[in-house]
């Protein structure tokens, strides 16, 4: 990225961050793991958006992808299996001033945490969620996940998995209050970055499913889509992603899709070949739960005291003096 010298000077006086400001430790993911590409895109987003590291929180569950916060030099919460979303919701409810991201895997989100996934969409809190979907359990060494395609051979399905794969986009688009759904693939970094950026800028719960490679357990899973650009359906629209000329040259299979059209989004979501990549749905009008629930009033001691005393008043009995409420005597006598 090139910028004018004067602009650089101005930015220096504001806040300036380098990629290194968001990098922490050496990722322990396998070489060729899609998580690396997601990490690169997200660190770039933080730098470009100048997110203050101390005001940024990455929350994750358990699994390969959930190591993510450890590699960000921000605040992070590596929680328990399946519960990243409710933890992140608590963070956001208590502190709307924080930028809250969630990294969750297909087992974490779509299996053990599935209940939280459905309800997180409904709460629609202003949180950016990345579903790192490699279609397999990696950390526990190759078991079929809910998104594994039928027939996937794994340690728990040695003769191939029995059930049709769950489609995360379809599920998400079927929940009331859905406000942002996109799909990316780890092997097209430019589009991945654009989607991550659009997700960050959406106010509400942005759900990004990132189809990613697992070179260790499912090395050939995504090969057809990786090697044949025609098998990728790029969604572009002036209200969605705008495809760069360079990308357009490679990925010629494109679809004009207005992301405000949820019915069309659901149709697109149901197809996997070609695999749609882009923003499927966006509705900035859906209210955020934290805005509905928080009063916005400063909780001073006096404010709390006044509220508490008013509650005490309701239950206080003071000897023989009549308590609050209308005296009943006159009413009784009038009968």
């Amino acid at each position: 990225m090139t910028t004018a010298a004067t602009e650089c000077m101005l930015r220096m006086y504001e806040e300036h961050y380098e990629l290194e400001d968001y990098q922490s430790g050496v990722p322990r993911w396998c070489s060729g793991c899609g998580d690396n590409a997601i990490l690169a895109a997200v660190q770039r987003l933080c730098r470009d958006e100048k997110l203050r590291p101390e005001k940024t929180v990455f929350v994750s569950g358990i699994g390969c992808s959930s190591r993510f916060p450890h590699y960000m030099k921000t605040y992070g919460f590596h929680g328990i299996h399946g519960r990243a979303l409710p933890i992140a919701e608590g963070v956001k409810m208590a502190r709307p001033d924080l930028h809250v991201f969630v990294n969750t895997g297909d087992g974490d989100c779509c299996s053990i945490g599935a209940a939280h996934w459905i309800h997180a969409i409904r709460y629609n809190m202003n949180i950016t969620v990345f579903l790192h979907d490699n279609q397999i359990y990696g950390l526990t060494k190759m078991q079929a996940s809910p998104t594994s395609p039928r027939g996937t051979k794994s340690n728990t399905t040695p003769r191939g998995s029995y059930l049709e794969a769950l489609q995360p986009l379809n599920v998400t688009l079927g929940v009331q209050n859905v406000s942002f759904v996109a799909q990316a693939v780890d092997w097209i970094p430019e589009v991945l970055y654009d989607i991550v950026k659009a997700a960050y800028h959406h106010k509400g719960l942005s759900f990004v499913r990132i189809v990613q490679r697992c070179p260790e357990w499912l090395p050939h899973q995504n090969e057809p889509w990786m090697h044949d650009p025609q098998k990728i359906l790029l969604l572009n629209h002036e209200q969605g992603l705008r495809i760069s000329p360079a990308m357009a040259k490679i990925y010629k299979n494109q679809l004009q899709h207005d992301p405000s059209n949820i019915d069309r989004a659901r149709e697109i979501a149901s197809q996997s070949d070609p695999m749609p990549v882009g923003i499927l749905y966006r509705n900035p009008e859906v209210p955020c739960y934290e805005d509905l629930r928080r009063s916005g009033k400063l909780r001073t001691n006096e404010y709390i005291k006044a509220g508490l005393e008013a509650e005490f008043d309701k239950f206080t009995i003071d000897g023989r003096k009549p308590t609050r409420g209308k005296p009943a005597e006159s009413l009784a006598r009038s009968v």
Binding site: E89, R95, R299, F312, K326
Partner: protein, 638 residues
């Protein structure tokens, strides 16, 4: 308003209420236990609660207990469907629900049977029974009524048939729903309570309703009062001895909720469960007025996780539940322990295991609270022991949680949850409240888990604090919060988390002994049994027995000094509402007997031969039961 002929036409039975001949004698009592029971939805609970408030206003000691059926709408006239209130009135402060009932007002004979069968009524007690069933068009109902009536009379109960519904019909269209205020009027008369105070109480109870509703209820109250005056030949008086100062009359769950308000906590995450939910009901209404949020999560796990997230972000939060929900939260509680995130978890215990007895009381979750969650997961466990304590313990719990970065479990139970007892109106203190979120920069070089080698304490880093960025994790970690599987880091971190309990223990006072400092028998209790145990001890001491009691509010850590107290008594036993094997059972002996929770704790910690007695009848333990147990224990030894 009423006359004898009406009464006769309604209740042609041999033993019915009769108008007093001449002036009634007023019997002075020191206390009395009254029950008002009906089918669900007939308003007996409102009647009982109002009665409690009126008596408290007069300066009487009061303890009310809800009688709740398990179903929302059990079938009408069912033995298991009794709904209502048990009110114990006394001259002095009343600390528990007391013994068997002295006087009961029943809206039908079936709900009454339920109470008789569970042994809740005192032999020969007074029963004021709705008599309308005698003439019921359904012959089965009428005969069931007559049979029950005859049996109760034969068994020596003083049964008075009262034409409640018929009397009420003169004033309101829906007499079935108005009976409760008629009953209240009768009781006010029978116990010489101030009628005007009762009228005021009705005005207060229905203050949000249309004035015509207040009016009709006051009419019914007056009618009931007058009816008892004209038709019943007895009257009691319980002189009020208490100083009449401003008092709060609430149940334990409302007290917990008010404690949450007063603690300065901002987020309560919950999932509906009996009997904890009524605290959240009240809080949902009141919390927003002080800028708080009650989040009804999608499940118990999410509720706990949500609270942990809020706490992590700097606003210590609370999650409130009952047994089954507590089990579900265990993994998340372990995370908060591991990551050292302050958290208050309230468990309003009910009968277990599994779904158990949702509306019945039990103290069965102590071991789960102390030892629950896998691995070594030290957490603070407190047990509330009075209604007032429900309020103050939450404030204390929040402070401990934030001072020690620990999970604090507060155990209540069904008995406290639904009982009412007046206590002095609290005087607000700014010290109750949580401080504002610390957003100051972290000094260079400080690590997120720089455990103090003596106390295990470390400064908590809160998102928003510059230079504090790190990732908390449920994985084993070192001082920098980096994942660490090396033996040294693992032992160092587990040691630090454990030391915090010892550090807290050093700040706890030895609980006071109730009774004498030494003697023949020490009874140890915890939680809601306090009032009953102390009452029993007081009576036993008055009879000359050298018995005392010790009530534990902190179960983990146990305060210092307990061993020394126990050593001053010849025998020590706990009394608890949970299971312990009965020594008299054929295959139970010292090698296999399972002890009650606190007995087990005391035995293992202090190597003292602590015995226990317990019951799991789903009801609060009665003071008389405790006296019997203590007498037997003393007798066996001597």
């Amino acid at each position: 308003m009423n006359d004898t002929s009406t009464l006769k036409s309604v209740t042609p039975a041999p033993k019915q209420a009769r108008p007093p001949a001449g002036k009634k004698t007023v019997t002075t009592l020191t206390e009395s236990v009254i029950e008002v029971i009906s089918d669900s939805g007939e308003g007996a609970q409102r009647c009982g609660q109002s009665l409690g408030s009126i008596a408290a206003k007069m300066g009487n000691g009061v303890w009310t207990v809800e009688i709740i059926p398990a179903e929302i709408r059990p079938p009408a006239r069912s033995v298991a469907g009794a709904s209502g209130n048990r009110i114990r009135l006394g001259s002095r402060r009343v600390t528990n629900g007391g013994n068997e009932t002295d006087l009961v007002v029943a809206f039908n004979e079936q709900v009454l049977l339920g109470r008789v069968r569970t042994g809740e009524l005192k032999p020969g007690c007074i029963i004021l029974l709705e008599g309308i069933w005698r003439e019921n068009a359904d012959a089965r109902i009428a005969s069931s009524y007559v049979q029950t009536y005859d049996r109760l009379v034969a068994e020596g109960y003083k049964v008075y048939e009262v034409p409640m519904e018929r009397e009420c019909r003169a004033f309101v269209a829906d007499a079935q729903r108005g009976k409760n205020m008629f009953a209240l009027g009768m009781i006010c008369n029978l116990y010489s309570l101030d009628l005007q105070l009762a009228r005021d109480q009705i005005a207060l109870t229905f203050s949000k309703k249309d004035p015509s509703i207040i009016k009709s209820n006051v009419v019914l109250l007056d009618a009931g009062y007058q009816w008892a005056e004209n038709h019943l030949d007895f009257k009691f008086r319980i002189p009020a001895e208490l100083a009449v100062e401003p008092q709060i009359v609430i149940n334990g769950n409302t007290a917990l909720a008010l404690g949450i308000l007063a603690s300065g906590m901002e987020v309560c995450a919950m999932y509906p469960i009996t009997p904890a939910t009524s605290a959240s009901h009240y809080l949902s209404d009141a919390f927003e007025k002080v800028g708080g949020v009650v989040h009804q999560a999608e499940d118990e796990i999410a509720a706990c996780s949500f609270a942990i997230g809020a706490s992590y972000a700097g606003k210590c939060a609370v999650t409130i539940t009952s047994g089954p929900g507590y089990s579900l939260k265990q993994e998340a509680i372990g995370l908060a322990v591991m990551a050292e995130i302050p958290l208050v978890v309230v468990n309003v215990q009910r009968g277990g295991p599994s779904t158990g007895q949702p509306t019945k009381t039990e103290q069965g979750d102590l071991m789960a609270a102390i030892f629950g969650s896998h691995g070594d997961a030290p957490k603070v466990v407190m047990a509330v022991d009075t209604i007032e304590d429900c309020f103050y313990s939450i404030i204390t719990a929040r402070k401990i949680a934030e001072t020690f970065n620990m999970v604090v479990v507060v155990l209540s139970d069904t008995s406290l949850a639904s009982s009412q007892q007046p206590f002095p109106r609290p005087t607000f203190s700014p010290d109750w409240l949580a401080p504002p979120v610390d957003q100051s920069a972290i000094p260079a070089g400080l690590k997120p888990y720089d455990w103090d080698p003596v106390t295990g304490l470390a400064r908590r880093f809160i998102p928003g604090q510059p230079n504090g960025m790190h990732t908390v994790t449920g994985l084993a970690h070192d001082r920098a919060s980096h994942v660490a599987y090396d033996p040294e880091s693992n032992e160092e971190s587990i040691r630090a988390r454990s030391l915090k309990l010892a550090a807290l223990q050093k700040t706890l006072k030895t609980p006071p002994v109730f009774g004498g400092e030494s003697g023949d028998l020490l009874v140890v209790g915890w939680g809601s049994t306090r009032g009953a145990i102390e009452e029993a001890v007081e009576l036993m001491r008055a009879e000359g027995s050298k018995v005392s009691s010790l009530h534990l509010r902190f179960l983990q850590p146990l305060p210092s000094g307990i061993k020394e107290i126990m050593q001053r008594f010849k025998q020590v036993m706990t009394i608890e509402s949970n299971w312990s094997d009965r020594p008299e059972d054929e295959i139970i002996d010292e090698t296999n007997r399972r002890y009650s929770a606190v007995a087990m704790l005391l035995r293992s910690r202090y190597l003292i031969d602590v015995d226990c007695w317990s019951e799991v009848r789903g009801q609060p333990i009665k003071p008389d039961t405790i006296r019997r147990v203590m007498r037997e224990k003393l007798r066996k030894k001597s």
